[in-house]
């Protein structure tokens, strides 16, 4: 290990150390507990600053990690999501009496796991990073211990997550058996010297890896856990769960695919991944129409959005992968804004977050309603929001690669989704306030976080140049 290795993982070190301090402080200085969220936030800001100040050394730790422009992009994305979730979580955890620094420490460590995973150039850190992320989330999902649905959510995520980890590990073992190495670069060398399709062991391994990662992305047919887990988990945790693991997993997916097929995907893989993408979009959107609970609706919407993001992977090449990366950034802001508002627009966490409860809130609580409206527009992919930019990029990449039918199916699916996203907006502004008005609190941290997300959604939608060029630069490192 050299000093280069150490500064390459400085952001992760900052998060791990601050997490440990949070746990110790909450145990030995209970008086400090209400202020610990500030320390957690400081840790996240510190990690973000270190990532941008220190140079990007490339391969470190015997090529286990690759700290490149893509890693910096994903770190920024994960840490931004972490910061926004911390801001939103504070009023929530105060209200539900989930106290102590442990929950914040677990959020920090989960982000660490996602960051390790996203810059892994080696299947071992992929798996261990994913485990770190998942173990933290099992606990966080169940952290609202007074609530039965929260415990159910934690339990379901534990069972499904352990199963998915088992599949992934088994797949990694088979890939190792076929290629004789864990390193993605070395697997890429094997892949260029001998045809992959002639190696059934490698294909079996990759199929299991795909299934394991598919569970984490909640792609059809590995999606069944998402609605129950999203619904039961504490809302800020759901927000975190809906963006961070999916982002990190998609980047792992992109790294794996580019290592295995450096120039273009084999036709059969294109078909398989396209079928998964279309099935996720169709099932996610159609099932979301039937939902009356906002968190369940957003869970199905998340399934559909991972389907859209997969279109970018199927299209492949610099354009498609840059589309995926932009999609991740866009998806973060849209989802965090939506969950932030949903968490404020509920009287009690044990009750379902009914769509009907939003009736008339548009005029009563204009700020949060506006944020929710913008996020629904963005999720539906309507300009001038960042959701439109993201969808435009992945569909355009599909058209460039002669996959016009994939883009057409994607656009049709987006049209279907407009219905249930707009139903939320309609309920907010067109339905009358109920006679017994719900007592929603609008704490300033939630307003602040959702306000920032709204600014980002509109700002990046109007001026996407910086985001797109950063994403293209990040992806270039991947395709070298």
């Amino acid at each position: 290990m050299t000093s280069i290795d150490l500064y390459a993982i400085a952001p992760e070190l900052v998060l791990v150390v601050v997490g440990s301090v949070l746990v110790l402080a909450s145990a030995f200085a209970p008086a400090l507990r209400p202020r610990l969220v500030w320390l957690a936030g400081l840790g996240a800001v510190g990690a973000l600053a270190t990532r941008w100040v220190l140079p990007l050394p490339g391969a470190v730790f015997s090529a286990a990690l690759r700290v490149d422009a893509l890693a910096r992009f994903v770190d920024t994305y994960i840490l931004a999501a972490l910061l926004l979730v911390l801001v939103m979580a504070e009023p929530y955890f105060v209200r539900t009496a989930v106290r102590g620094g442990e929950v914040y420490a677990l959020l920090l460590w989960a982000a660490t796991g996602a960051m390790v995973m996203a810059k892994a150039d080696h299947l071992l850190p992929v798996f261990i990073g994913l485990e770190l992320l998942s173990v933290c989330l099992y606990v966080l999902n169940a952290s609202h211990r007074d609530s039965l649905v929260s415990l159910e959510s934690g339990f379901k995520y534990l069972v499904v997550g352990a199963f998915a980890s088992g599949l992934l590990l088994f797949g990694i073992a088979l890939v190792y058996g076929a290629a004789g190495t864990f390193s993605l670069r070395a697997i890429a060398v094997v892949a260029t010297t001998q045809p992959l399709t002639g190696n059934p062991l490698l294909l079996a391994g990759l199929a299991l890896v795909l299934a394991g990662l598919g569970f984490k992305l909640a792609l059809v047919p590995f999606h069944a856990w998402a609605p129950d887990v999203y619904q039961g988990a504490p809302t800020p945790v759901t927000a975190f769960l809906s963006v961070v693991p999916k982002g990190a997993t998609l980047v792992v997916f992109a790294r794996l695919v580019t290592a295995l097929a450096p120039h273009s995907l084999p036709p059969r893989w294109t078909t398989l991944l396209a079928v998964i993408a279309i099935a996720s979009q169709a099932l996610g959107n159609l099932a979301a129409i039937a939902q009356r609970d906002l968190k369940r609706m957003l869970a199905y919407s998340g399934i559909a959005h991972m389907g859209y993001a997969m279109v970018g992977i199927v299209a492949f090449g610099a354009e498609g992968l840059a589309g995926v990366v932009v999609y991740l950034a866009a998806y973060t802001f849209m989802n965090l804004a939506a969950f932030g508002v949903v968490s404020a627009f509920s009287e009690s966490e044990d009750e379902p977050h009914r769509l009907a409860d939003l009736a008339g809130q548009g005029w009563k609580r204009p700020f949060l309603s506006f944020a929710l409206t913008v996020s629904m527009f963005a999720l539906a992919g309507i300009p001038p929001t960042v959701g439109f930019v993201a969808k435009f990029l992945v569909f355009k990449a599909a058209v460039t690669e002669n996959l016009v039918w994939l883009a057409v199916v994607g656009v049709l699916n987006s049209l279907v989704s407009v219905f249930f996203y707009f139903r939320v907006v309609f309920t907010l502004y067109m339905r009358p306030l109920p006679s017994r008005e719900p007592a929603f609190a609008e704490p300033w941290p939630t307003r602040f976080a959702t306000g920032l997300c709204t600014l980002a959604m509109v700002g990046l939608g109007l001026l996407p140049g910086w985001l797109v060029s950063t994403a293209e630069q990040a992806v270039r490192a991947l395709l070298e």
Binding site: P30, F61, S62, L106, W109, G113, L132, V135, C136, G154
Partner: protein
């Protein structure tokens, strides 16, 4: 007789592999958790034997100490804390899914058999890596230590955080709310 001598290692392998597979099957089939735990113990020990056959002596020792020793004791403690006698009479959930599970399992087994068969006879990984470090011939323990602390240093360190998270997570979920905290 000569045949047996020449193929002795393979015979031992198939004997151990049969114990491992039958043990694993029994874990699923036995309804009493104690019996299932003991079947699991057989599987662990058989796998330790297979590690010895593969010249991975350190792994064999770790398998016995950690899995057959530590983890097994933990399992038995957990079983002691639940009402074992009542468990076999409890209704089993998802009985209807047994055929689906069997089909899925057979498909997976078929996939693996075809894959293994097509890959052929040659060794999958280089067995020399089990006993070399920095190009020199060393003991298995030393070779594992070299790769663990040089090549795989980062994953090794991250695992320590995973364990820390697991401990803290268990406390977060399992502790009692005290009156002082509730105030």
């Amino acid at each position: 007789m000569d045949w047996i001598v020449a193929h002795f290692a393979e015979l031992v392998f198939f004997y151990l592999a049969a114990i491992a597979v039958v043990g694993a099957g029994c874990v699923v089939i036995f309804r009493s958790p104690i019996n299932a735990a003991l079947a699991l113990l057989c599987t662990f020990l058989a796998i330790a034997g297979i590690f010895v056959l593969a010249h991975a002596e350190l792994l064999a020792a770790v398998q016995v100490l950690v899995y057959a020793g530590g983890i097994m004791v933990l399992f038995l403690f957990a079983i002691m804390l639940v009402n074992v006698r009542a468990l076999p009479q409890q209704p089993q959930f998802m009985r209807r899914l047994v055929p689906a599970a069997a089909v899925a399992g057979l498909l997976l087994a078929g996939l693996l058999v075809v894959a293994m068969w097509r890959v052929g006879q040659g060794p999958l990984a280089d067995p020399a890596t089990l006993t070399t470090a920095e190009g020199a011939l060393v003991g298995n323990t030393q070779a594992v230590a070299w790769s663990l602390f040089m090549q795989y240093l980062l994953p090794f360190e991250v695992v320590s955080i995973v364990l820390l998270v697991a401990i803290i997570g268990a406390i977060v979920l399992g502790r009692k709310e005290t009156a002082e905290e509730g105030a």
